[in-house]
Amino acid sequence: MTTSAARGGWRMRLRGLIRKEFRQIVRDPSSIAIAFLMPVALLLLFGYGISLDAEEVPVALVAPQPSAASASFTSAFYGSRYFAPRPMPDMAAAEAALMAGRVDGIIRLQGNFARRLEGGGSAPVQVIVNGVDANNARMISGYVQSTWANWLAQRAQAAGGELDMPVQVEPRIWFNGEMRSRNFLVPGLIAVIMTLIGALLTALVMAREWERGTMEALMVTPVAIREILLGKLIPYFVLGTGGMLLAVGMAVFLFDVPLRGSLWVLLICSSLFLLAALGMGLLISTIARNQFVAGQVAIIATFLPAFILSGFIFDIGSMPWALRGITHLIAARYFVAILQTVFLAGDVWPVILPNALALLLMAALFFGLVRRNSRKRLE
């Protein structure tokens, strides 16, 4: 065989393999469902479903002796979109409601609230929050504090004076002025969902060939292992890219997440990430050689690590150093950083370039390992 014929054969063989893979995809529609149905369904469900913005938090309000002063104070809570106050006759009722989970907090005014307020003293207000969900509890006490501070400022203004607060905090939140948690959750979700899809698409494909014995059949053909891998990769890369475009489109048009960076940066980085995710799936498949084990590994190794260790929800900088090291093994970590930056901040190259490089390295590493572990050899 001449070299030119071998090269021509290379193209033909690859085309043949890709065509075979596409046929297989069309016949078992689960791959198509994974690539297109899953991102849409999951992003819809989670994009609407999860939020860290507590609104209308039910709180028990105990004000034993209503007066004009106490009414002015409590009206600040009735007027806030963060609270849904429930008046309670006494502390016992409020505590019972807190125990039963009907309210998340208690705001209790003393009986002598009006007297102490008008006497020029300082009237204490007791606030109890349910600390079981520590993050939520902290949010709620933050809301209580800002409602209280607003009320003090208004009261001082009404009296014609200024607030006697020595230092006044003026917060400026960059990139996400309204503090919409959806703006960072949706880009993060894209990374988590695409991790799943990448792994699901390829986790079983190599194992399936081994299990069904068709791998042996492939081995006796002139097809090189490199061509088999490319033949597996290209069809699923096309499918995955379709799913990714759908997800990005939904983020921008449905969830109104601002896209401040450029689309082409997003697309290039997404392709890199998709390669890494597909590579991981292929690696699982190649090592397991058995669909059952490959499936189990895919369940345990993809979703939870991408969910917890990617910085999607939990801040990586606050983790202990050993764990910060572990997060570098999670491809989703780099993609989350890129997505949150490209969507909310813009094309910040010092963030994008190192993370994109890391994705490229991970993809190369996975394919290198796949290549090493798949030889034309039987055991």
Partner: protein, 369 residues
Amino acid sequence: MFKRIIALAVKEFLALLKDKKSRFVIIVPPLVQLFVFSYAATYDLNRVPYAVYNEDRGVAARNLLAGFQGSKNFRRVARIDRSGQIAPLIDRKQVLLVVHIGPQFSRDLALGRPAPLQLLVDGRNSNTAMLTLNYARDIVDHFNRRWSAAHQLAPPPVRLDIRAWFNPNLVSRWFIVPGIVGLLTLVVAIMVTSLSVAREREQGTFDQLLVTPLRPTEILIGKALPGFLIGLFEASLIMMAAVFWFAIPMRGRLLVLYLGLALFLLSVVGVGLMISSLSVTQQQGLLGAFLFTVPAIILSGFATPIANMPRAVQYLTLLNPLRYFMVVLRGVFLEGAPFSQLAHQLWPMALIGVTSLMLAGWLFRHRMY
């Protein structure tokens, strides 16, 4: 009948545990993940990187900054002296917070005028931003109280006294680790069950099983037992690690916890077998496993409260067994909740379990092609 069930269950255990790779995957990663995730998943911020932009040379500004310096929640990484330096630091994620003190700060304070303090926060992750701001506010509040006391200023007319029940220091690990117990138990039980029928279908051995004297109910019990027992075993290990390693308080009764665990496993094993008997290939089984596990975890109240979800999604979570088990776990661990308080969480899991198991048994015979 028992002999037949036991024979089948033994065969199922062998199928799972005989293969070295499979045995490893079932036992080791969940335990490793418990440790990794329990340390990783926290909403408590520490060492938040910040920069100081101080245009004031006064003592008051230095005192205020000392508050940031002394806090273990913050770590100063830069000092800047031009406003142009702010944007690159935040853009590049080198700092999450810039504390900006204007040139008039000390003078305003000395004259008794409110002195503004600008806090610039990276809002890319709004939760982190909110928490950073809350921590910074605490430091400023502390400074204000000291300043007011030292200068005989009137205290604010109303003061708040905030306290948290059940978790006074608001350690988020107390909330997260019991949640992780639920997550990993779910993953293990799904991993063991969701491919079991699909594999036999794909290999054709399920048809053989159906023509044996085993009745569908017996097949069902035989298939359900390994998932149930492995789940029980691993959940026990994980809970022991939670109590003895992570020092999560265990305030309620173990009996209530195990009742909840048993019902939860029943429901998850049921759902897993249902997925498995619906699928014809293992690829479909795996897809089904993910389509159940991922929403079940994200919509369980593990990381984001169910109360924040829109009403329609909240109704959907009623079908999610993990949602109930989360309440049981956190209730028993942290609140010491008695059976009577948790009964409302227990019966839905039992209902989901029985319904899904029945469906799975029915599908054994009726999903043939």
